[in-house]
Amino acid sequence: MGATITEKILSRAAGRPVVAGETIFPDPDLVTVHDWYVVNFDKALMELGVPKLFDASRVLICTDHEPIALSREAAARQKAVREIVAKYGIEQFFDSGRGGHGHVFPMEMGIVRPGMFVFAYDTHVTNYGAVGALGFAMVTEISEVLACGNVWIKVPETVRVNLHGKLPFGSTFRDLAQKLTLDLAADLIDYSVVEYGGPAMAGIGIGGRQTLCNTPLEIGAKSAIVEPDAWTLDYVRGRTDKKFTPEVSDPDAKYKAVFDISLNDIEPQVAAPPRPDNVMGVSKVEGIKVNHAFIGSCANGSFEDMQDAARILRGRRVHPDVHLLITPATNEIAAKMASDGLYSIFVEAGATVGTPGCGPCASGRISPLAAGEVSINTATRNDRGRMGDPGASLYIAGPLTVAASAVAGEISDPRKFL
């Protein structure tokens, strides 16, 4: 019996061949921790009496959830994070302004490469699947990983998704990703890895691949991964000289299910409150007034997403009743936005351009909503209170729909603006 990408990567990490269903203790190539949780893992290790990490060279810390401290408490936490990083001798520390979003810049910098296995204290580590790496979130037990070097997991089954065709005019990969949360039922996806392949992948760049790997976890997937292809090898070799071993599934690999999905008829999709899989065509919610809009997050903070926003915002003004915040995921994307003229398009349109990182998606620490306000955004989740007051309403959509809605002051079909 052949093996899936996931089984191959976890076999290497476990030091022996493994198959779906087994409980194993895989050794990660990298462990990432974001922002203030550094303070929490340090506290946990001190309470347990553990003086050092299993391997500080395999740990990466980044400041992305609140890249600019917005309170004295946050400033104190950031100071504590810097002290803790020094205490444990962690060299891969990407503080504010040094990298950006931790689910994105490690791929840009060639730190995360095909075939790697990563544990992270944050659920959207699944993004690393964009380059053929396998990321598993580990929340409470990240302290155990940091102390012992691993933690138990059950090897997940894989659901294969073959993509065919081409997105129609006015649709984005976020629209496809949201439609997939409907088409791949939550009961099936539960604790599975979504593995993407198929002929359409050749036309999908880093932004689209990240978006596709980002959303499945919202319906219970353990992770997501794109089968490495010629695009992957070009992208990674353009960014690092370090060696890597891409893994692809065997032709006779055992899948839990296989889907063939056509991109040809994907229309703009919106997820209405209160869950990201409450997905519907944009026509169902057109006309709902909005006060707040956001383009960014680990799902949609790529340069391609910024280009999509600019397609709508060039020469237009954001509606007077709307605050539009645009947050590039990383410093590299921010620099390219500036050099390619996107930054001025956004500012001239009346948008605010934020510091690279999560933006308001990280529980609304930045630009939260007040009770009764309505946001349309490209964030990852839309549960009550996710972005400020629990009395605010959060709609999730692709960057074209968000930009169009910000201009119109109400949820709008972007195809009318292109």
């Binding site: 347990l48 929340v139 939550a186 539960d190 604790y191 989740r381």
Partner: protein
């Protein structure tokens, strides 16, 4: 030693949110873990007085995708703080781990359990064997229990005592 809870049933539907239904969202973002703080806010997003009504050994019964959302542990710690058990039709996987880590005895895939009881029924659940008894109705259902090693983690109180033992076995902290 069996993990047997006998108490009142408190039934919820599908898609109970771990952050906005099961606790105060602020506790999740503040990473609050103290039982004494979380205890009184269990299920406060659905019923602010819920914690006042329940007793130790009572059982929460949930539908599909129980504890869905960003996998914060606070809602599960709230169940542990009230010394309650949990039986659900399905549970989001991050919350599955967090229920173990919080030391909550639970049955993770009890198909049709929401049809087998109502709030107020007297239940007896053996979490070691998976036997679910509705004493009010005089009916019993057999579900698949958690594996022995996961039940052992729950029995000793969750992740922290378990990881202490692991660190001692690895020689990373004194026995």
């Amino acid at each position: 030693m069996d993990l047997i809870y006998e108490g009142n049933c408190w039934k919820f539907g599908d898609n109970v949110s771990v952050d906005s239904d099961m606790t105060k969202k602020e506790f999740s973002t503040q990473r609050e873990t103290r039982h004494e703080v979380l205890k009184d806010f269990l299920m406060c997003g659905i019923d602010p007085d819920f914690a006042k009504k329940v007793s130790p050994n009572d059982i929460i019964v949930g539908g599909k995708r129980f504890a869905q959302g960003n996998p914060h542990i606070q809602g599960l710690l709230g169940i542990a703080a009230n010394q309650m058990g949990l039986v659900v039709e399905s549970i989001q996987r991050g919350s599955y781990r967090n229920a173990i880590n919080a030391g909550v005895p639970f049955i993770s895939h009890a198909a049709g359990v929401t049809q087998a009881c109502e709030t107020g029924d007297r239940l007896r659940v053996n979490f070691t064997t998976g036997l679910f008894e509705n004493l009010t109705r005089g009916a019993a259902h057999q579900y698949t229990p958690l594996s022995t090693d996961l039940l052992e983690t729950i029995r000793i109180g969750g992740w922290k005592p378990m990881v202490k033992l692991r660190l001692q076995k690895m020689g990373l902290i004194p026995a």
